[in-house]
């Protein structure tokens, strides 16, 4: 569920194709996200799941899987 929403946001905001957004994809090195992309994606996740992600989330994730994990931890907290 978290991955599906994350994938949807990456596709919408970064104009990526469906098969590019995989769990192992590297957000910055591979998908070429920048700070503006991340601010939109994190805001989209926060609003959708009604959570507050840590301020340093961007600095602490490399892959989509990392981001999904941080979102799940926030939901569980």
């Amino acid at each position: 569920m978290v991955f599906d929403k994350t994938k949807e946001l990456f596709i919408e905001i970064m104009g990526l194709d469906d098969d590019e957004v995989k769990l192992e994809a590297q957000i910055f090195d591979e998908l070429d996200a920048d700070s503006l992309d991340m601010s939109q994606i994190l805001l989209g996740l926060e609003n959708h799941f009604e959570i507050d992600l840590p301020d340093d989330t961007s600095a602490n994730v490399d892959s989509i899987a990392d981001l999904v994990r941080v979102v799940e931890q926030s939901r569980a907290a």
């Binding site: 970064m14 104009g15 990526l16 939109q40 805001l43 926060e46 609003n47």
Partner: protein
């Protein structure tokens, strides 16, 4: 002696054509690019006709990601700038010696309105982080720089409806200062939004006509206001020495620029056109010409009762008896009022007029107000070889801006 400034490239996107060729062809046919509102629910406003740019796909221009990051006015600017840059074949000018100066009235106002609405209805956490870089008015110029990798001075001019001409004027000053060799100068606007239309409506400036042939009919005794338009126009202007060094195709010379303020009223022009008269005289002095030398005027011609009356007074005061020899039209009769882009597009029209010896019609203006005493080009284009042409613009805030272009440099420079 001051260095001559020339025009070497043109680009545009308008309600009647997405490039110079299609725009000019539609101009000569007198096509009126007006239709119902499609950008939003048109029942929100009383106005029934706008001049939208049709069939524009920003993802084709910029890709999916980048097109989301640019407001429509920036997308238009990039589109027009690419055409002008290619037309001038500017790749052989060093990128730090190229500047950009783009005029806009309101910048990315549609992005701002969208986010302001989210702020009200959903709350602050729903406001898009892209809100700021999309709507701030300098982003048309900034995005052109990023798109074309231009590293010289990149500026924005905002003098309401005079922005397009004043942006070119500012570019002239940059060129004359020696800081740059070429400038991409023009204007961009995309402000067909509910709030903009409501504001203009409540001011009584917009045409309430639903018949497009009776809307935006400048200098006609039945004139009833303007039709809000959108689009962009960009010109490459450069020093004559730069153009000659690289063997560029010189389209026209910019002979003079005039700029003044009425310092009179928020929106109304000075009743005796005092400021506009000074701006035209300043431009003629700059060009070292007299009223008898001007062959054609592209008027501001908004089709509001007040503008056309005051502008005609201005022309009578400046040109006197010589006015009989001057043909006048208004491009706004076809593309509506493109606000901060209008003056730039009308400068493009002036260049085309010089190059082709054709003056486009004032579409729909079939009953010219006889009190004006103006020679308005009617429903068919006319052929006239022009040497000097004048472009006039006025803006809310009392801004007056005038350019005079000259033909003949093609012959002179070879």
């Amino acid at each position: 002696m001051r260095e001559k400034i020339v025009i070497t490239g043109l680009g545009c996107i308008t309600p009647i054509g997405h490039n110079i060729e299609s725009f000019w062809e539609a101009c000569l046919k007198g096509e009126k690019g007006f239709g119902p509102i499609t950008h939003f629910d048109g029942t929100k406003v009383k106005t029934s006709l706008v001049a939208e740019v049709k069939d524009f796909d920003p993802t084709k221009l910029l890709g999916r990601k980048l097109s989301r990051r640019l407001d429509r006015f920036s997308q238009f600017a990039v589109h027009a700038a690419r055409e002008a840059h290619d037309h001038a074949d500017l790749t052989d000018v060093e990128s730090t010696r190229i500047g950009i100066c783009i005029g806009t009235g309101v910048g990315g106002v549609s992005s701002f309105e969208e986010e302001a609405s989210k702020m009200e209805t959903q709350g602050s956490s729903y406001v898009n982080p892209l809100c700021m870089p999309k709507w701030i008015p300098n982003m048309a110029a900034g995005n052109i720089a990023m798109d074309l990798k231009i590293h010289g001075p990149v500026h924005t001019v905002s003098t309401a409806c005079a922005s397009g001409i004043d942006a070119i004027g500012h570019a002239i000053l940059l060129l004359e200062s020696g800081r740059v060799d070429a400038v991409l100068a023009g204007g961009a606007e995309a402000c067909i939004t509910p709030t903009m239309i409501a504001g203009f409506e409540n001011m009584g400036a917009l045409s309430a006509q639903s018949d497009k042939n009776l809307a935006s009919i400048p200098f006609d005794e039945r004139r009833n206001g303007f039709v809000l338009g959108e689009g962009a126009a960009v010109l490459v202007i450069e020093t004559l020495s730069s153009a000659q060094r690289r063997g560029a195709n010189i389209l026209a010379e910019i002979a003079g620029y005039g700029s003044s303020s009425d310092a009179y009223h928020l929106t109304a022009p000075h009743p005796e056109a005092e400021g506009d008269i000074r701006a035209i005289n300043m431009a003629m002095k700059d060009a070292d010409i007299e009223p008898k030398d001007v062959d054609y005027i592209n008027a501001h011609g908004t089709a509001t009762p007040q503008n056309d009356k005051t502008e005609s007074k201005c022309f009578k005061a400046v040109f006197g008896q010589e006015l009989n020899q001057v043909h006048i039209n208004s491009t706004k009769s076809m593309v509506g009022h493109m606000q901060g882009a209008a003056g730039a597009l009308e400068t493009v029209v002036c260049v085309q007029t010089l190059l082709e010896g054709k003056i486009h019609p004032t579409s729909g203006s079939t009953q010219i107000d006889p009190d004006f005493g103006l020679t308005i080009v009617g429903q068919d284009f006319i052929e006239k070889k022009c040497k000097y042409v004048l472009n006039n613009a006025l803006g809310f805030g009392g801004h007056n801006a005038v350019l005079i272009l000259k033909s003949g440099l093609v012959a002179d420079s070879h």
